[in-house]
């Protein structure tokens, strides 16, 4: 693999790691803040909104109850368990199984690998035909260098 492919792979691994770390979630043993719980918990009273966002009165009551539990030094694990027990897994806002939220990261890596192989084939090109197998006329190295320089300068300029 050349260095560009290596850089691309590094970027993908970095992105996938960022996704993994972000989805790992907070430390279950930590005592959270109200904002942390309210922004990651889906409101059972407003479809699609978090407890933080939901403007309904029952959601305000739920925020108060979460604040009470935090003041009692309950941990992330305890608070999440209480929420799920009272409102169902719908409050989690993401798939419970780790493999489910890893699927997008895996899809990205698999897609990149497939694309990498395809790009490599595009660079190698099709098998040469009989005509192409005939030796090409010799071109001076200085001429080749000059062509590259002219092409680079042309590409750099503004398009018409």
């Amino acid at each position: 693999m050349n260095r560009y492919g290596f850089i691309g792979l590094l970027a993908l691994v970095g992105m996938s790691a960022a996704i993994f770390l972000a989805n790992r979630g907070p430390d279950p043993g930590d005592v959270p803040t109200l904002a942390q719980v309210a922004t990651r918990t889906m409101s059972p009273f407003c479809p699609g909104l978090t407890v933080e966002e939901c403007p309904s009165s029952p959601s305000a009551v739920l925020r108060d109850r979460i604040a009470q539990k935090i003041s009692q030094r309950q941990t992330n694990r305890q608070i999440d368990a209480w929420l799920v027990a009272n409102y169902g897994p719908v409050v989690l806002g993401k798939p419970a199984q780790a493999v489910s939220w890893l699927v997008p990261a895996l899809a990205l890596i698999v897609g990149a690998v497939i694309l990498g192989f395809r790009a490599r084939r595009w660079m190698v090109g099709d098998p040469p035909t009989e005509a192409a197998a005939a030796p090409a006329p010799a071109v001076a190295v200085s001429d080749l260098r000059r062509v590259e320089q002219e092409l680079t300068a042309f590409e750099r300029g503004p398009e018409r």
Binding site: N2, Y4, G5, G8, A11, G14, M15, A18, I19, A22, N23, A35, T39, R40, M42, C46, P47, G48, L49, T50, E52, E53, C54, P55, S56, S57, A60, R63, G88, P89, V90, V91, L92, G93, K94, P95, A96, S100, W101, V103, P104, A105, A107, L108, G111, A112, L115, A119, W122, M123, G125, D126, L151, T152, E155, R156, G157, P158, E159, R160
Partner: protein, 664 residues
Amino acid sequence: MDIAATGRIVLLAALGFSSWGAVAGTLGRMRRDRRLAESAHRALLAAAGSTVLGLLILILALYIKDFSLSYVAGYTSRSTSRLFTLTAVWAGMEGSLLLWTSMTAIYSGTAIWMAKRHRPDLAPVATAVASAIITFFLALLAFSANPFASKSPVPFDGAGLNPLLQSPFMSIHPIMLYAGLTGFIVPFCFAISALVSGKLDPRWFTSTRRWTVFAWSMLTGGIILGGAWAYSELGWGGYWAWDPVENASLLPWLLGTAFLHSVMIQERRGMLKVWNVGLILGAYSLSIFGTFLTRSGLLSSVHTFSESPVGKYLLPLLAAILIGSFGLLGSRYDRLRSRRHLDSLLSREAAFLFNNLLFIAIAFTVLWGTIYPIVVEATSGTRISVGPPFFNAVILPVGLALFALTGIGPLIAWRRASWKILKRQFAIPATCGAAIILGLAAAGLRSAGSLTAIALSGFVSVVTVGEFVRGARAHSTGGIGGWLHGLREVVGRNKRRYGGYIVHLGVVLIFIGLSGNAFKQSWSGTVAPGSSFRIGDYSVRYDSSRNFATDEKMVNMAVLKIAKGGRDIGTLRPQRNFHFAQRQAQSEIGIRSTLEEDLYIVMTRMDSERRATFRAWVNPLVAWVWLGGCVMAVGMVIIMSARPPRRPDPASVARPAERAAVPV
């Protein structure tokens, strides 16, 4: 005039025309019969005209408040204003389906009529495909979701319009959204036609490119206006919640954006033909998927219609489109495959490839997160949700990478870039980005996502503005006037390119706006008149309240005096109203908006002692999102104003023998 009967007859006539269009177009292609092909096209135009007539009849019924129609009685009332009477057209399942079908028919009929002269070889199949799809939707309207169903006995007054839809944004957002989603039918039909006929040269998409750009522009505007509606009406302090229906509009947008970028490689290098056809087929398939989600009753969302039988009929259509179109693509794979080489992985072509990969990764993630709860509930009976905690975490890193490519792509040369030149070109933009990160980190900003977004905004801005500066300099005649002349020249000569750069600048502004989300502040509580509360740098005093009734609602208004830094800066008047017809409470939000931040206050309750419960947010940089949308609109207008490439006049191209006879 019996509007119900007239409307139904018109829709049935449209169904007849479109059915003939599908049959005649298919037979015309199979038998190479020009008369049948011409008949098919006329039938498609007649179907389009009839469908639009049906839509106009429904609008008339709404305007004259003909409550003998169930639809009119269900979505308007005597007190509904004229503007919102128009909004009622798309408030319900039947009306919105009629609007969808009308737009599909208008797009198809017009595009094929305009393209017929230049691509008579593709018109018959395109006509047949478009007619078949329109036939399907007209059949739904005629037999399953009839907008002209009668109501007996005729009520004195209607149920009125949902208060959430009584917003100026709702007068525009659905039309733009539908114009975007249905517009992808044009490149879809021509792509199918090109695949069927085997005429796989790039001219099929050249002739539909403007339609694709127009559809994409409408969809972009529709999505942004939808966010503006959510922000101003729903009262949760945000504008994007990863709601399944929001996701359903985002999915075709992602593939459409990937297509508009990737097609440049096909134009320039003749590569990525399979990708481009696949992206267009995917974009339209996802449009149908979105309308299925909205109408199936599978989802609970503020955007969805109630459960109806329409959903179960849309699934076979979606399956047919997916299997048919991608099967056809697979059968033509060898003919589409490019024989060109990729010269280097460090090239603009490779950057576009990576761009495509990231767009598809985001689309896959959005699709996965949207359908996952449906699949889990269907298989295990357990209700779960997938919302912002998942989407934000997964899409943020990929989205930032895509944003970075927005700045990297323009700097990389086609075919092969040189590291030496790239390092020189990246120096200033990268330094700017790094300086922003260091400066903000030193100022105490700790949110990694926001730091990266703002730094990349600086990077992309410098790259994009640099492109304008380089171009203007080449055409400048000196002085400020000369520079302006140079700028006008360079944009005028390549509107697609520089319009695209302006769209990118709009994206920069949107990312700046998005980065403000990390610094939101919120407050909630109950206050009595005369009391104050603080949020951020603001002091909010609940000065007084007003209560009055209109024809439609009971208004409870709180008058709030806002101060910042000890200085009075204005008044907000949030409301909590009760709508009589719908028996529904709804909040009107008080928003004070500046470029720096919005103060956003919702009143959720007022008791008999006038004590009011408020939720307040300070939302930094939200205005930049709307500003970014406006800048994107300017860019899109410039792109669409680009003249299409001139087609050679066949009469001016002499045959070789004639050329030889001409004296030199």
